[in-house]
Protein backbone atom coordinates (compact mmCIF):
# COMPACT_ATOMS: atom_id res chain seq x y z
CA UNK A 1 0.00 0.00 0.00
CA UNK A 2 2.70 2.46 -0.89
CA UNK A 3 1.97 5.52 -3.04
CA UNK A 4 -1.16 4.25 -4.66
CA UNK A 5 -3.82 6.89 -4.88
CA UNK A 6 -7.39 6.28 -5.81
CA UNK A 7 -9.54 8.81 -7.62
CA UNK A 8 -10.99 10.38 -4.50
CA UNK A 9 -7.46 11.07 -3.34
CA UNK A 10 -6.57 12.69 -6.63
CA UNK A 11 -9.65 14.93 -6.59
CA UNK A 12 -8.96 15.98 -3.04
CA UNK A 13 -5.39 16.86 -3.91
CA UNK A 14 -6.49 18.83 -6.98
CA UNK A 15 -9.06 20.81 -5.00
CA UNK A 16 -6.51 21.46 -2.30
CA UNK A 17 -3.98 22.71 -4.87
CA UNK A 18 -6.55 25.02 -6.50
CA UNK A 19 -7.64 26.47 -3.17
CA UNK A 20 -4.06 27.02 -2.03
CA UNK A 21 -3.22 28.83 -5.26
CA UNK A 22 -6.36 30.94 -4.96
CA UNK A 23 -5.45 32.17 -1.48
CA UNK A 24 -1.91 32.87 -2.66
CA UNK A 25 -3.23 34.79 -5.67
CA UNK A 26 -5.58 36.93 -3.54
CA UNK A 27 -2.78 37.67 -1.07
CA UNK A 28 -0.54 38.68 -3.95
CA UNK A 29 -3.25 40.98 -5.35
CA UNK A 30 -3.85 42.70 -2.01
CA UNK A 31 -0.18 43.13 -1.23
CA UNK A 32 0.73 44.39 -4.68
CA UNK A 33 -2.11 46.93 -4.64
CA UNK A 34 -0.69 48.23 -1.38
CA UNK A 35 2.84 48.29 -2.74
CA UNK A 36 1.71 50.10 -5.90
CA UNK A 37 -0.05 52.78 -3.82
CA UNK A 38 2.96 53.23 -1.57
CA UNK A 39 5.51 53.39 -4.36
CA UNK A 40 3.31 55.70 -6.46
CA UNK A 41 2.97 58.12 -3.54
CA UNK A 42 6.72 57.94 -2.93
CA UNK A 43 7.46 58.51 -6.57
CA UNK A 44 5.11 61.52 -6.87
CA UNK A 45 5.94 62.98 -3.49
CA UNK A 46 9.65 62.62 -3.11
CA UNK A 47 10.47 65.34 -5.67
CA UNK A 48 9.00 68.18 -3.57
CA UNK A 49 10.55 67.03 -0.31
CA UNK A 50 13.16 69.35 1.11
CA UNK A 51 14.21 70.68 4.46
CA UNK A 52 12.36 73.90 3.73
CA UNK A 53 9.21 71.99 2.78
CA UNK A 54 9.24 70.13 6.09
CA UNK A 55 9.81 73.21 8.25
CA UNK A 56 8.24 76.21 6.51
CA UNK A 57 4.65 77.43 6.69
CA UNK A 58 2.50 77.53 3.52
CA UNK A 59 3.26 80.34 1.08
CA UNK A 60 1.34 81.69 -1.91
CA UNK A 61 1.75 79.82 -5.19
CA UNK A 62 5.21 80.31 -6.71
CA UNK A 63 6.92 81.09 -3.42
CA UNK A 64 7.52 77.53 -2.28
CA UNK A 65 6.52 77.22 1.31
CA UNK A 66 6.02 74.05 3.28
CA UNK A 67 3.97 71.99 5.65
CA UNK A 68 5.90 72.45 8.90
CA UNK A 69 2.87 73.85 10.67
CA UNK A 70 0.69 71.02 9.35
CA UNK A 71 3.11 68.37 10.64
CA UNK A 72 3.16 69.99 14.08
CA UNK A 73 -0.61 70.46 13.92
CA UNK A 74 -1.23 66.81 13.05
CA UNK A 75 1.02 65.67 15.89
CA UNK A 76 -0.77 68.00 18.32
CA UNK A 77 -4.16 66.71 17.18
CA UNK A 78 -3.00 63.09 17.52
CA UNK A 79 -1.70 63.86 20.99
CA UNK A 80 -4.94 65.52 22.14
CA UNK A 81 -7.09 62.74 20.75
CA UNK A 82 -4.84 60.02 22.20
CA UNK A 83 -4.83 61.63 25.63
CA UNK A 84 -8.63 61.66 25.60
CA UNK A 85 -9.45 58.65 23.45
CA UNK A 86 -7.01 55.98 24.62
CA UNK A 87 -7.82 56.04 28.37
CA UNK A 88 -11.55 56.19 27.69
CA UNK A 89 -11.43 53.51 24.99
CA UNK A 90 -9.25 51.15 27.02
CA UNK A 91 -11.46 51.65 30.08
CA UNK A 92 -14.57 50.81 28.08
CA UNK A 93 -12.80 47.70 26.75
CA UNK A 94 -11.83 46.65 30.28
CA UNK A 95 -15.42 47.19 31.40
CA UNK A 96 -16.82 45.13 28.54
CA UNK A 97 -14.41 42.26 29.10
CA UNK A 98 -13.73 42.20 32.84
CA UNK A 99 -16.41 44.06 34.75
CA UNK A 100 -19.76 44.24 33.01
CA UNK A 101 -22.21 41.39 32.75
CA UNK A 102 -25.70 40.90 31.42
CA UNK A 103 -27.96 42.97 29.24
CA UNK A 104 -26.56 46.38 30.08
CA UNK A 105 -23.11 45.27 28.91
CA UNK A 106 -24.58 43.77 25.74
CA UNK A 107 -26.24 47.12 25.15
CA UNK A 108 -22.97 48.99 25.65
CA UNK A 109 -21.23 46.61 23.25
CA UNK A 110 -23.94 47.16 20.64
CA UNK A 111 -23.66 50.95 20.99
CA UNK A 112 -19.87 50.78 20.69
CA UNK A 113 -20.21 48.69 17.52
CA UNK A 114 -22.69 51.20 16.13
CA UNK A 115 -20.33 54.09 16.94
CA UNK A 116 -17.58 52.38 14.92
CA UNK A 117 -19.79 52.64 11.87
CA UNK A 118 -20.72 56.31 12.18
CA UNK A 119 -19.37 58.29 9.20
CA UNK A 120 -16.57 60.55 10.40
CA UNK A 121 -18.18 63.64 8.87
CA UNK A 122 -21.13 63.13 11.20
CA UNK A 123 -18.74 63.11 14.15
CA UNK A 124 -17.29 66.38 12.80
CA UNK A 125 -20.70 68.03 12.54
CA UNK A 126 -21.61 66.75 16.01
CA UNK A 127 -18.51 68.25 17.62
CA UNK A 128 -19.14 71.44 15.64
CA UNK A 129 -22.56 71.66 17.26
CA UNK A 130 -21.55 70.84 20.83
CA UNK A 131 -18.11 72.49 21.02
CA UNK A 132 -17.36 74.88 18.16
CA UNK A 133 -20.67 76.74 18.24
CA UNK A 134 -20.69 77.39 22.03
CA UNK A 135 -17.00 78.38 21.90
CA UNK A 136 -17.77 80.49 18.83
CA UNK A 137 -14.52 79.53 17.08
CA UNK A 138 -12.64 76.57 15.60
CA UNK A 139 -9.95 75.08 17.78
CA UNK A 140 -7.34 72.36 18.05
CA UNK A 141 -9.19 71.13 21.11
CA UNK A 142 -12.45 70.50 19.27
CA UNK A 143 -10.49 68.78 16.48
CA UNK A 144 -8.87 66.52 19.05
CA UNK A 145 -12.23 65.72 20.61
CA UNK A 146 -13.69 64.80 17.22
CA UNK A 147 -10.80 62.45 16.52
CA UNK A 148 -11.04 61.00 20.05
CA UNK A 149 -14.71 60.17 19.44
CA UNK A 150 -13.66 58.15 16.43
CA UNK A 151 -10.93 56.40 18.40
CA UNK A 152 -12.96 55.34 21.43
CA UNK A 153 -15.06 52.57 19.86
CA UNK A 154 -12.12 51.13 17.91
CA UNK A 155 -9.87 51.05 20.96
CA UNK A 156 -12.68 49.74 23.17
CA UNK A 157 -13.49 46.77 20.96
CA UNK A 158 -9.89 45.76 20.23
CA UNK A 159 -9.07 46.07 23.94
CA UNK A 160 -12.05 43.87 24.80
CA UNK A 161 -11.04 41.25 22.25
CA UNK A 162 -7.43 41.24 23.44
CA UNK A 163 -8.43 40.91 27.09
CA UNK A 164 -10.72 38.03 26.23
CA UNK A 165 -7.77 36.21 24.69
CA UNK A 166 -6.05 36.11 28.09
CA UNK A 167 -6.75 32.58 29.37
CA UNK A 168 -9.31 32.31 32.12
CA UNK A 169 -6.93 30.12 34.07
CA UNK A 170 -4.61 33.07 34.55
CA UNK A 171 -7.35 35.11 36.21
CA UNK A 172 -8.23 32.18 38.44
CA UNK A 173 -4.57 31.73 39.34
CA UNK A 174 -4.36 35.29 40.57
CA UNK A 175 -7.74 35.16 42.34
CA UNK A 176 -6.68 31.96 44.10
CA UNK A 177 -3.70 33.82 45.54
CA UNK A 178 -6.02 36.22 47.27
CA UNK A 179 -5.84 39.00 44.72
CA UNK A 180 -8.90 41.23 44.60
CA UNK A 181 -10.59 41.56 41.20
CA UNK A 182 -9.14 44.99 40.40
CA UNK A 183 -5.59 43.81 41.06
CA UNK A 184 -6.12 40.77 38.85
CA UNK A 185 -7.27 43.04 36.05
CA UNK A 186 -4.58 45.68 36.48
CA UNK A 187 -1.64 43.49 37.45
CA UNK A 188 -2.15 40.32 35.44
CA UNK A 189 -4.78 40.53 32.71
CA UNK A 190 -3.97 43.94 31.23
CA UNK A 191 -0.17 43.37 31.20
CA UNK A 192 -0.73 39.99 29.53
CA UNK A 193 -2.81 41.68 26.84
CA UNK A 194 -0.66 44.83 26.58
CA UNK A 195 0.94 44.11 23.20
CA UNK A 196 -2.48 43.46 21.70
CA UNK A 197 -3.99 46.54 23.30
CA UNK A 198 -1.10 48.61 21.97
CA UNK A 199 -1.69 47.22 18.49
CA UNK A 200 -5.35 48.23 18.79
CA UNK A 201 -4.33 51.71 19.89
CA UNK A 202 -1.94 51.86 16.94
CA UNK A 203 -4.67 50.92 14.51
CA UNK A 204 -6.89 53.64 15.96
CA UNK A 205 -4.12 56.24 15.71
CA UNK A 206 -3.34 55.19 12.14
CA UNK A 207 -7.03 55.42 11.32
CA UNK A 208 -7.55 58.93 12.73
CA UNK A 209 -4.33 60.33 11.30
CA UNK A 210 -5.92 59.84 7.90
CA UNK A 211 -9.18 61.57 8.86
CA UNK A 212 -10.01 64.82 7.10
CA UNK A 213 -13.76 65.25 7.32
CA UNK A 214 -14.11 65.63 11.12
CA UNK A 215 -11.39 68.27 11.11
CA UNK A 216 -13.01 70.50 8.48
CA UNK A 217 -15.56 71.89 10.96
CA UNK A 218 -13.48 71.61 14.09
CA UNK A 219 -9.73 72.21 13.76
CA UNK A 220 -10.44 73.99 10.48
CA UNK A 221 -6.85 74.65 9.38
CA UNK A 222 -4.34 77.42 9.72
CA UNK A 223 -1.46 78.98 7.82
CA UNK A 224 0.69 79.42 10.92
CA UNK A 225 2.40 77.34 13.56
CA UNK A 226 0.03 76.69 16.46
CA UNK A 227 0.41 78.86 19.52
CA UNK A 228 -2.59 77.69 21.52
CA UNK A 229 -4.95 74.75 21.68
CA UNK A 230 -7.80 77.23 21.67
CA UNK A 231 -7.10 78.33 18.08
CA UNK A 232 -7.69 76.75 14.70
CA UNK A 233 -4.84 74.43 13.84
CA UNK A 234 -3.40 73.06 10.59
CA UNK A 235 -3.26 69.36 9.85
CA UNK A 236 -1.65 67.30 7.12
CA UNK A 237 -4.90 65.82 5.89
CA UNK A 238 -6.76 69.15 5.58
CA UNK A 239 -3.66 70.65 3.96
CA UNK A 240 -3.53 67.77 1.48
CA UNK A 241 -7.23 68.22 0.76
CA UNK A 242 -6.91 71.97 0.19
CA UNK A 243 -3.86 71.61 -2.04
CA UNK A 244 -5.27 68.69 -3.99
CA UNK A 245 -8.48 70.54 -4.97
CA UNK A 246 -6.54 73.68 -5.92
CA UNK A 247 -5.87 74.38 -9.60
CA UNK A 248 -2.07 74.77 -9.17
CA UNK A 249 0.47 72.14 -10.22
CA UNK A 250 2.90 73.28 -7.53
CA UNK A 251 0.31 72.69 -4.81
CA UNK A 252 -0.58 69.31 -6.33
CA UNK A 253 3.06 68.32 -6.04
CA UNK A 254 3.12 69.56 -2.47
CA UNK A 255 -0.02 67.53 -1.71
CA UNK A 256 1.78 64.38 -2.90
CA UNK A 257 4.79 65.21 -0.76
CA UNK A 258 2.55 65.90 2.25
CA UNK A 259 0.88 62.51 1.70
CA UNK A 260 4.28 60.86 1.75
CA UNK A 261 5.09 62.67 5.00
CA UNK A 262 1.78 61.61 6.55
CA UNK A 263 2.40 57.98 5.68
CA UNK A 264 5.94 58.09 7.02
CA UNK A 265 4.59 59.64 10.21
CA UNK A 266 2.08 56.82 10.73
CA UNK A 267 4.75 54.24 9.98
CA UNK A 268 7.12 55.94 12.42
CA UNK A 269 4.57 55.99 15.25
CA UNK A 270 3.79 52.37 14.49
CA UNK A 271 7.41 51.28 14.73
CA UNK A 272 8.01 53.24 17.95
CA UNK A 273 4.96 51.75 19.67
CA UNK A 274 5.86 48.24 18.51
CA UNK A 275 9.30 48.73 19.94
CA UNK A 276 8.04 50.06 23.26
CA UNK A 277 5.50 47.28 23.76
CA UNK A 278 7.47 44.39 22.33
CA UNK A 279 6.97 41.14 24.15
CA UNK A 280 9.26 41.00 27.13
CA UNK A 281 8.00 37.68 28.44
Amino acid sequence: MIATYNNADRTRRAVSAVMTSLTALCTLLAVSALLIILSYIAWRGIGSLSFQFLTDVPRPVGEGGGIGNAIVGSLVLLLISSVIGLPVGISVGVYLSEVGRGRFTDGVRFIVDTLTGIPSIVTGVFVYAILVLPMKHFSALSGGVALALIMVPIVARTTEEMLKLVPHSMREGALALGAPQWRVTLGVVIPAAAPGIATGAMLAIARISGETAPLLFTAFGSRFFPSSLNEPIASLTVQIYNYAISPYDEWHAQAWAATLVLMTLVLGINIIVRFLTRKKF
Binding site: P167, E172, G173, L175, A176, L177, P191, A192
Partner: protein, 274 residues
Protein backbone atom coordinates in the same frame (compact mmCIF):
# COMPACT_ATOMS: atom_id res chain seq x y z
CA UNK B 1 -12.83 -3.12 23.53
CA UNK B 2 -13.24 -6.04 25.91
CA UNK B 3 -14.44 -5.17 29.37
CA UNK B 4 -11.52 -4.97 31.69
CA UNK B 5 -11.88 -7.64 34.30
CA UNK B 6 -8.38 -7.86 35.68
CA UNK B 7 -8.17 -6.12 39.02
CA UNK B 8 -5.32 -3.62 38.79
CA UNK B 9 -2.80 -4.03 41.52
CA UNK B 10 -2.64 -0.81 43.45
CA UNK B 11 0.08 -0.35 45.97
CA UNK B 12 -0.55 1.76 48.99
CA UNK B 13 2.33 3.57 50.58
CA UNK B 14 3.07 1.88 53.87
CA UNK B 15 3.34 5.16 55.76
CA UNK B 16 -0.22 6.09 54.94
CA UNK B 17 -1.47 2.93 56.55
CA UNK B 18 0.10 4.02 59.79
CA UNK B 19 -1.88 7.27 59.84
CA UNK B 20 -4.97 7.01 61.93
CA UNK B 21 -8.09 9.04 61.20
CA UNK B 22 -7.81 10.89 64.42
CA UNK B 23 -6.57 14.27 63.16
CA UNK B 24 -8.71 17.31 63.88
CA UNK B 25 -10.97 18.25 60.99
CA UNK B 26 -9.50 21.28 59.25
CA UNK B 27 -12.31 21.46 56.75
CA UNK B 28 -15.77 20.29 57.58
CA UNK B 29 -18.42 20.17 54.89
CA UNK B 30 -22.08 19.88 55.88
CA UNK B 31 -24.94 19.06 53.50
CA UNK B 32 -23.40 20.86 50.56
CA UNK B 33 -25.47 21.34 47.41
CA UNK B 34 -24.14 23.10 44.36
CA UNK B 35 -25.95 24.33 41.25
CA UNK B 36 -24.80 25.53 37.84
CA UNK B 37 -27.94 27.44 36.90
CA UNK B 38 -30.67 24.84 37.23
CA UNK B 39 -28.36 21.87 37.04
CA UNK B 40 -27.47 20.42 40.41
CA UNK B 41 -23.83 19.37 40.33
CA UNK B 42 -23.36 18.36 43.96
CA UNK B 43 -25.91 16.58 46.12
CA UNK B 44 -25.91 16.85 49.88
CA UNK B 45 -22.24 16.27 50.52
CA UNK B 46 -20.88 15.95 54.05
CA UNK B 47 -17.21 15.31 54.57
CA UNK B 48 -14.41 16.02 57.03
CA UNK B 49 -10.89 16.75 55.87
CA UNK B 50 -8.40 16.16 58.68
CA UNK B 51 -5.58 18.56 59.34
CA UNK B 52 -2.10 17.88 57.88
CA UNK B 53 -3.11 14.94 55.81
CA UNK B 54 -3.58 14.36 52.13
CA UNK B 55 -7.10 13.68 51.00
CA UNK B 56 -7.70 12.51 47.46
CA UNK B 57 -10.93 12.89 45.50
CA UNK B 58 -11.45 10.25 42.84
CA UNK B 59 -14.28 9.53 40.45
CA UNK B 60 -15.08 9.52 36.73
CA UNK B 61 -15.10 12.72 34.65
CA UNK B 62 -18.00 14.99 35.42
CA UNK B 63 -18.66 13.45 38.84
CA UNK B 64 -18.28 16.82 40.56
CA UNK B 65 -14.95 16.32 42.27
CA UNK B 66 -13.40 19.45 40.75
CA UNK B 67 -16.55 21.45 41.42
CA UNK B 68 -16.44 20.29 45.02
CA UNK B 69 -12.77 21.21 45.34
CA UNK B 70 -13.56 24.68 44.03
CA UNK B 71 -16.27 25.22 46.61
CA UNK B 72 -13.59 25.00 49.30
CA UNK B 73 -11.98 28.31 48.35
CA UNK B 74 -15.07 29.77 46.67
CA UNK B 75 -13.45 29.71 43.22
CA UNK B 76 -16.88 28.94 41.82
CA UNK B 77 -17.94 32.45 42.78
CA UNK B 78 -16.40 33.72 39.54
CA UNK B 79 -18.69 31.54 37.44
CA UNK B 80 -22.00 33.31 36.78
CA UNK B 81 -25.31 31.78 37.87
CA UNK B 82 -23.91 29.33 40.40
CA UNK B 83 -25.52 28.67 43.76
CA UNK B 84 -24.40 26.96 46.95
CA UNK B 85 -26.41 25.39 49.76
CA UNK B 86 -25.15 23.94 53.01
CA UNK B 87 -22.02 24.79 54.92
CA UNK B 88 -18.27 24.62 54.47
CA UNK B 89 -16.52 25.12 57.78
CA UNK B 90 -12.83 25.85 57.81
CA UNK B 91 -11.46 26.09 61.34
CA UNK B 92 -15.10 26.05 62.46
CA UNK B 93 -16.02 29.14 60.45
CA UNK B 94 -18.57 28.91 57.65
CA UNK B 95 -16.87 30.32 54.55
CA UNK B 96 -20.25 30.92 52.89
CA UNK B 97 -21.56 32.96 55.81
CA UNK B 98 -22.46 36.52 54.84
CA UNK B 99 -19.61 38.94 55.36
CA UNK B 100 -16.88 36.39 54.69
CA UNK B 101 -13.83 38.01 53.15
CA UNK B 102 -13.21 35.87 50.07
CA UNK B 103 -9.80 37.42 49.53
CA UNK B 104 -8.70 36.42 53.04
CA UNK B 105 -10.18 32.95 52.56
CA UNK B 106 -8.14 32.40 49.41
CA UNK B 107 -4.96 33.45 51.19
CA UNK B 108 -5.64 30.69 53.67
CA UNK B 109 -6.77 28.13 51.11
CA UNK B 110 -4.30 28.04 48.23
CA UNK B 111 -4.97 26.36 44.92
CA UNK B 112 -2.98 24.65 42.17
CA UNK B 113 -4.77 24.13 38.89
CA UNK B 114 -4.87 21.30 36.42
CA UNK B 115 -3.21 23.33 33.71
CA UNK B 116 -0.21 25.25 34.96
CA UNK B 117 -1.02 28.93 34.73
CA UNK B 118 2.08 31.02 35.35
CA UNK B 119 1.69 34.73 34.75
CA UNK B 120 3.61 36.18 31.81
CA UNK B 121 6.16 37.61 34.21
CA UNK B 122 9.58 36.53 35.44
CA UNK B 123 10.00 33.45 37.64
CA UNK B 124 10.71 35.66 40.63
CA UNK B 125 7.72 37.92 40.03
CA UNK B 126 5.43 34.91 39.73
CA UNK B 127 6.33 33.62 43.17
CA UNK B 128 6.43 37.13 44.62
CA UNK B 129 2.96 37.98 43.24
CA UNK B 130 0.94 36.72 46.19
CA UNK B 131 3.41 38.20 48.67
CA UNK B 132 3.26 41.57 46.99
CA UNK B 133 -0.49 41.87 46.64
CA UNK B 134 -1.02 40.75 50.20
CA UNK B 135 1.77 43.00 51.46
CA UNK B 136 3.20 40.09 53.39
CA UNK B 137 6.82 41.19 53.42
CA UNK B 138 8.21 44.39 54.84
CA UNK B 139 11.30 44.82 52.68
CA UNK B 140 13.07 43.47 49.66
CA UNK B 141 15.39 41.07 51.42
CA UNK B 142 12.47 39.47 53.22
CA UNK B 143 10.64 39.16 49.90
CA UNK B 144 13.68 37.55 48.27
CA UNK B 145 13.99 35.18 51.21
CA UNK B 146 10.35 34.10 51.03
CA UNK B 147 10.57 33.55 47.26
CA UNK B 148 13.66 31.39 47.71
CA UNK B 149 11.99 29.44 50.49
CA UNK B 150 8.87 28.80 48.42
CA UNK B 151 10.92 27.68 45.42
CA UNK B 152 12.91 25.33 47.66
CA UNK B 153 9.69 23.95 49.17
CA UNK B 154 8.42 23.29 45.67
CA UNK B 155 11.70 21.55 44.78
CA UNK B 156 12.38 23.99 41.98
CA UNK B 157 15.08 26.21 43.47
CA UNK B 158 18.09 24.34 42.11
CA UNK B 159 16.73 24.41 38.59
CA UNK B 160 15.90 28.12 38.47
CA UNK B 161 18.17 29.88 40.96
CA UNK B 162 20.41 31.23 38.22
CA UNK B 163 17.60 32.57 36.07
CA UNK B 164 15.02 34.07 38.39
CA UNK B 165 14.67 37.06 36.08
CA UNK B 166 13.80 35.06 32.98
CA UNK B 167 10.26 34.47 31.83
CA UNK B 168 8.23 31.84 33.66
CA UNK B 169 6.96 30.73 30.28
CA UNK B 170 10.45 29.53 29.33
CA UNK B 171 10.17 26.71 31.88
CA UNK B 172 9.11 23.17 30.96
CA UNK B 173 5.58 21.98 31.74
CA UNK B 174 6.62 20.18 34.91
CA UNK B 175 8.67 23.12 36.08
CA UNK B 176 5.79 25.50 35.39
CA UNK B 177 3.52 23.37 37.54
CA UNK B 178 6.04 23.35 40.38
CA UNK B 179 6.35 27.11 39.95
CA UNK B 180 2.59 27.39 40.43
CA UNK B 181 2.92 25.28 43.57
CA UNK B 182 5.72 27.56 44.79
CA UNK B 183 3.52 30.57 44.04
CA UNK B 184 0.74 29.08 46.13
CA UNK B 185 3.12 28.10 48.96
CA UNK B 186 4.77 31.52 49.13
CA UNK B 187 1.87 33.07 51.02
CA UNK B 188 1.87 30.09 53.42
CA UNK B 189 -1.69 28.88 53.08
CA UNK B 190 -3.05 26.40 55.59
CA UNK B 191 -4.92 24.31 53.07
CA UNK B 192 -3.67 23.50 49.58
CA UNK B 193 -6.17 22.45 46.93
CA UNK B 194 -4.76 20.66 43.90
CA UNK B 195 -6.94 20.05 40.89
CA UNK B 196 -5.30 17.21 38.95
CA UNK B 197 -1.90 18.86 39.32
CA UNK B 198 -0.03 16.18 37.39
CA UNK B 199 -2.50 15.25 34.68
CA UNK B 200 -0.59 17.08 31.96
CA UNK B 201 2.85 15.94 33.05
CA UNK B 202 5.17 13.10 32.10
CA UNK B 203 5.94 10.33 34.62
CA UNK B 204 9.16 11.90 35.86
CA UNK B 205 7.58 15.29 36.49
CA UNK B 206 4.58 13.51 38.03
CA UNK B 207 6.72 11.62 40.49
CA UNK B 208 8.43 14.87 41.49
CA UNK B 209 5.05 16.46 42.22
CA UNK B 210 3.95 13.38 44.16
CA UNK B 211 7.09 13.40 46.31
CA UNK B 212 6.46 17.07 46.88
CA UNK B 213 2.92 16.42 48.07
CA UNK B 214 4.24 13.78 50.44
CA UNK B 215 6.71 16.28 51.93
CA UNK B 216 4.23 19.12 52.09
CA UNK B 217 1.69 17.35 54.25
CA UNK B 218 3.92 17.90 57.26
CA UNK B 219 2.80 21.53 57.17
CA UNK B 220 -0.29 21.72 55.01
CA UNK B 221 -3.67 20.15 54.72
CA UNK B 222 -3.79 18.95 51.15
CA UNK B 223 -6.76 18.07 49.00
CA UNK B 224 -5.99 16.58 45.62
CA UNK B 225 -8.33 15.73 42.78
CA UNK B 226 -6.99 12.99 40.56
CA UNK B 227 -8.08 10.76 37.73
CA UNK B 228 -5.23 8.45 38.46
CA UNK B 229 -6.12 5.91 41.13
CA UNK B 230 -2.55 4.75 41.53
CA UNK B 231 -1.68 8.35 42.26
CA UNK B 232 -4.43 8.61 44.86
CA UNK B 233 -3.14 5.43 46.46
CA UNK B 234 0.44 6.66 46.43
CA UNK B 235 0.00 10.13 47.88
CA UNK B 236 -3.11 10.22 50.01
CA UNK B 237 -4.06 9.21 53.51
CA UNK B 238 -7.76 9.35 52.91
CA UNK B 239 -9.77 9.02 49.73
CA UNK B 240 -13.25 10.15 48.80
CA UNK B 241 -15.08 8.62 45.86
CA UNK B 242 -17.58 10.75 43.94
CA UNK B 243 -20.13 9.62 41.40
CA UNK B 244 -22.71 11.77 39.60
CA UNK B 245 -22.39 14.60 42.09
CA UNK B 246 -22.75 12.39 45.12
CA UNK B 247 -20.19 11.34 47.67
CA UNK B 248 -20.31 7.55 47.59
CA UNK B 249 -17.64 6.68 50.09
CA UNK B 250 -14.92 8.27 52.13
CA UNK B 251 -12.41 6.09 53.87
CA UNK B 252 -8.75 5.65 54.65
CA UNK B 253 -6.88 5.17 51.41
CA UNK B 254 -5.68 1.75 52.45
CA UNK B 255 -9.18 0.53 53.16
CA UNK B 256 -10.56 2.19 50.05
CA UNK B 257 -8.22 0.33 47.74
CA UNK B 258 -8.21 -3.01 49.53
CA UNK B 259 -11.62 -3.45 51.06
CA UNK B 260 -14.04 -0.67 50.04
CA UNK B 261 -17.34 -0.76 51.86
CA UNK B 262 -19.44 0.29 48.87
CA UNK B 263 -20.05 -1.89 45.84
CA UNK B 264 -19.87 1.17 43.54
CA UNK B 265 -16.43 2.07 44.84
CA UNK B 266 -15.20 -1.42 44.25
CA UNK B 267 -16.59 -1.44 40.74
CA UNK B 268 -14.90 1.85 39.93
CA UNK B 269 -11.56 0.98 41.46
CA UNK B 270 -11.41 -2.37 39.75
CA UNK B 271 -12.17 -0.71 36.43
CA UNK B 272 -15.61 -2.16 35.86
CA UNK B 273 -16.83 1.30 34.78
CA UNK B 274 -15.58 4.84 34.53
Amino acid sequence: MPVQTVVPKIEVRPSSTAQAVTGKAKVSVRDLDFFYGRVQALHNISLDIPERMVMAFIGPSGCGKSTFLRTLNRMNDVIPATRVGGQVLIDDRDIYAPGTDVVELRRKVGMVFQKSNPFPKSIFDNVAYGLRINRVTKNNSELTGRVEEALKDAALWNEVKDRLKTSALSLSGGQQQRLCIARALAIRPEVLLMDEPASALDPIATSKIEELIFDLKAHYTIVIVTHNMQQAARVSDRTAFFLLGKLIEVNSTEKMFTAPSEKLTEDYITGRFG
